[in-house]
């Protein structure tokens, strides 16, 4: 499953790169990208573990940039 999420207050381009790297390392993630320009995150992961992966990804983002929020629809 592939899903996109909006990020609010993603303020630094280097942080986006770091987030992307961290999210890609999560177990079950097949592909991920964090775009500073569009302020969006894309995660592609197995359906079965998607929710866990997402929770993990949100943690990764908070680690890199504490003020950045993920809009979970």
């Amino acid at each position: 499953m592939k899903k996109k999420f909006k990020l609010i207050d993603l303020d630094c381009a280097n942080c986006a790169a770091k987030m992307e790297k961290a999210i890609k390392k999560i177990d079950g993630v097949t592909d991920a990208s964090v775009s500073f320009m569009t302020q969006k995150m894309m995660i592609e992961a197995d359906d079965a573990v998607f929710d866990q992966v997402l929770a993990e990804a949100v943690k990764c983002i908070a680690k890199v940039e504490p003020d950045c929020q993920v809009v979970l629809k």
């Binding site: 996109k4 207050d9 303020d11 630094c12 381009a13 280097n14 942080c15 790169a17 770091k18 990208s33 775009s35 500073f36 320009m37 569009t38 302020q39 969006k40 894309m42 908070a62 680690k63 890199v64 940039e65 504490p66 003020d67």
Partner: protein, 633 residues
């Protein structure tokens, strides 16, 4: 400044208040109003603006340390300013934090602005749809709720919310947001319309053929958004570079602070000076200017291309366009109109050209083959259907029929030979259809596909834009291929190919691109996406033409040209070149300034003021440079 976000407004207020406090402190200090030997009160006075402007940086720094994320900007800035405080350089500490925040503010403002400019460009998504209810009324619904088969009413000036077909009404629709084509398109009942186009003066009623999510407009928007995630090589290089650059500079700072005092053994007087120089290093070590400038330029490039009606599916493809060495192109439907026309008619002795055409048209009247259509369209005086009997179709060869009581054949050379009919062996440019009556040759009709009106100019522009070689591939005959190639000025062509041959040829050409010496040289393929999907995906860059509404082509290609205009190709090459040169200039400039500051900082010539200006100044200049891509025109 109304476009500022809430956070930006808050930041701006903080910056201004701190700036005023800082200015007052500086002036009072220089005017001798403050005690000479700085006591606690003076230090506290400097700490107030410092914390006011920098508290979030300091907070993030500690959060970062707690999360094991060292070496981020906040950490570096906090360390540098604390170092300056430790050395008694109160002014510099506050100034660094203050100007760092000013720079961050400009960055966020400029990026927000350019992001806005792009979103505006892509402002093709319809916000609502008018659905006709069963009782004939109209309800306004969210485009997401459109179901296939819904009747939608589009008022003048509104956007078409979903792909569909016109039931009622006719008028002009503006497709420029999707195709870059400024001429409005005329539509009438029965025509297909595409979401995102703007309706002209008249009311249209359409039936939705696709749900909103599957409509063209949503696919295009998704593609542009995804484009940013397909990173260019340059961007990947910079991200990797930043990964090593920052720790390296921090390490350099540590050496700078401790090595000279260790050598001299003097940890008292000189030590502070070296620590201060090390702090300068820390300020310069922030990588953000570099990391931001490259994707911003590419983002702008993709935006500029989409304004031309060209969708680029990723930064990497834009980068390849700039390094295009060989361009392989399909013939029919790409370089040519894809519609056959009768080019010339020759008649044997005893027949007129009109008669040849008339007999041929009679034989071909039952066929839907493009060549048959061309011949029947060209004939103005057709036999009545009652005089045409016993039609027989020999696929790939020709047709025979009895016309006005006499057996008439129309077909290629092989077909004539099989029937024992002798034909003249002159080579005519195009596809030759031989006509025979009663076992005797009576004439030849040459059918050819016309090149698009802009094709010649496009070929010239593409070569002028730096493409070394254009190769035309076609399943058509040698003579037809040569005629088109000569007319357009294409020197290399391969004729008589089957679709599967094309992949092989493209593979060979990829090996030969740039004579195999320079792997940076890329090969592009232009096709109409109908039967060349395998070639589109095999080429380094697959370009699909005239793809508006064709999902298969949009899927297979890397670059999608929404309308049929070949001149978009040289335009995209130009945009790609410009993007590359801007991002290259940004990288060179940022690295140059940073390394110069590092050297000057190590020698003690550049102080922290210079460093902070270098850091944020470079970032802002790079952003402005990248924005040229977006604001242009």
């Amino acid at each position: 400044m109304s476009s500022l976000t809430k956070k930006q407004k808050k930041d701006l207020t903080r910056i201004i208040i701190s700036l005023v406090m800082f200015a007052v402190l500086m002036i009072s200090e220089h005017a001798g109003l403050l005690p000479d030997n700085r006591n606690i009160a003076v230090i506290a006075a400097y700490l107030v603006p410092y914390f006011l402007v920098g508290y979030d940086v300091i907070r993030k720094c500690f959060l970062g340390i707690a999360h094991g994320q060292m070496f981020d900007e906040c950490f570096l800035m906090t360390l540098a300013t604390v170092g300056a405080f430790g050395c008694g350089e109160l002014e510099e500490a506050v100034a660094v934090m203050l100007f760092y925040q000013v720079g961050e503010f400009f960055q966020s403002y400029a990026v927000g602005k350019s992001r806005g400019a792009i979103t505006e460009l892509m402002d093709i998504a319809p916000e609502f749809a008018n659905r006709e209810t069963e009782d004939g009324g109209i309800e306004v619904i969210d485009p997401d709720d459109i179901e296939i088969g819904d009747i939608l009413v589009i008022k003048p000036g509104e956007k078409i919310p979903a792909d569909g077909s016109v039931i009622d009404g006719e008028g002009l629709i503006n497709t420029s947001a999707l195709t870059g084509e400024s001429m409005p398109r005329a539509v009438k009942a029965g025509d297909q319309v595409i979401s995102g186009c703007i309706n002209g003066e008249n009311l249209l009623r359409i039936r939705a053929d696709k749900a909103y999510d599957d409509s063209t407009v949503v696919q295009i928007l998704e593609m542009v958004e995804n484009a940013a995630s397909k990173k260019s090589k340059t961007e990947n290089f910079i991200t990797r570079f930043a990964h090593y650059y920052t720790p390296a500079v921090v390490f350099g700072a540590v050496i700078l602070a401790f090595l000279p005092p260790l050598i001299s053994g003097d940890f008292t007087g000189e030590f502070g000076k070296w620590v201060l120089r090390a702090c300068t290093f820390l300020v310069i070590s922030c990588p953000c200017a570099l990391v931001i400038s490259v994707p911003l330029a590419f983002f702008g490039g993709i935006g500029a291309a989409s304004r031309e009606g060209v969708l680029v599916k990723g930064s990497n493809f834009l980068e390849m366009m700039a390094h295009l060495d060989t361009l392989v192109t399909d013939k029919t439907g790409t370089l040519t109109e894809g519609r056959f026309k009768v080019n010339s008619v020759t008649a044997a002795d005893g027949y007129t050209k009109e008669e040849v055409l008339r007999f041929a048209a009679a034989v071909e009247s039952g066929s839907t083959h493009p060549i048959a259509t061309a011949i029947t369209t060209a004939c103005t005086d057709q036999f009545p259907m009652s005089e045409i009997t016993d039609e027989e179709n020999y696929a790939g060869k020709g047709i025979s029929a009895v016309v006005a009581g006499v057996k008439t054949l129309v077909g290629n050379g092989g077909f004539m030979a099989e029937n024992g009919i002798g034909i003249p062996d002159d080579q005519l440019p195009g596809t030759c259809c031989y006509v025979a009556r009663d076992g005797r040759y009576i004439g030849t009709i040459v059918v050819a596909d016309m090149p698009k009106s802009e094709a010649g100019q496009a070929v010239k522009d593409i070569l002028a834009a730096g493409v070394r070689k254009i190769v035309m591939l076609t399943g058509d005959s040698e003579s037809a291929a040569r005629a088109i190639a000569e007319e357009l000025g294409i020197t290399d062509y391969r004729a008589g190919l089957l679709p599967q041959d094309k992949v092989g040829i493209v593979e060979d050409l990829i090996k030969g691109a740039g004579n195999g010496e320079d792997p940076k040289k890329k090969l592009g393929f232009i096709g109409d996406g109908i039967n060349d999907a395998p070639v589109l995906s095999r080429a380094d860059v697959g370009i699909a033409m005239g793809s508006l509404g064709s999902d298969a082509a949009i899927e297979a290609a890397d670059i999608v040209i929404m309308d049929d205009n070949l001149l978009r190709i040289p335009a995209v090459i130009q945009i790609a070149r410009k993007t590359i040169s801007i991002s290259g200039a940004n990288i060179a400039f940022a690295l140059l300034v940073k390394f110069a500051c590092l050297v000057l900082g190590a020698l003690g010539i550049a102080n922290m003021w210079v460093a902070v200006f270098a850091d944020v100044g470079v970032a802002v200049i790079c952003i402005l440079n990248s924005m040229r891509m977006i604001v242009k025109k």
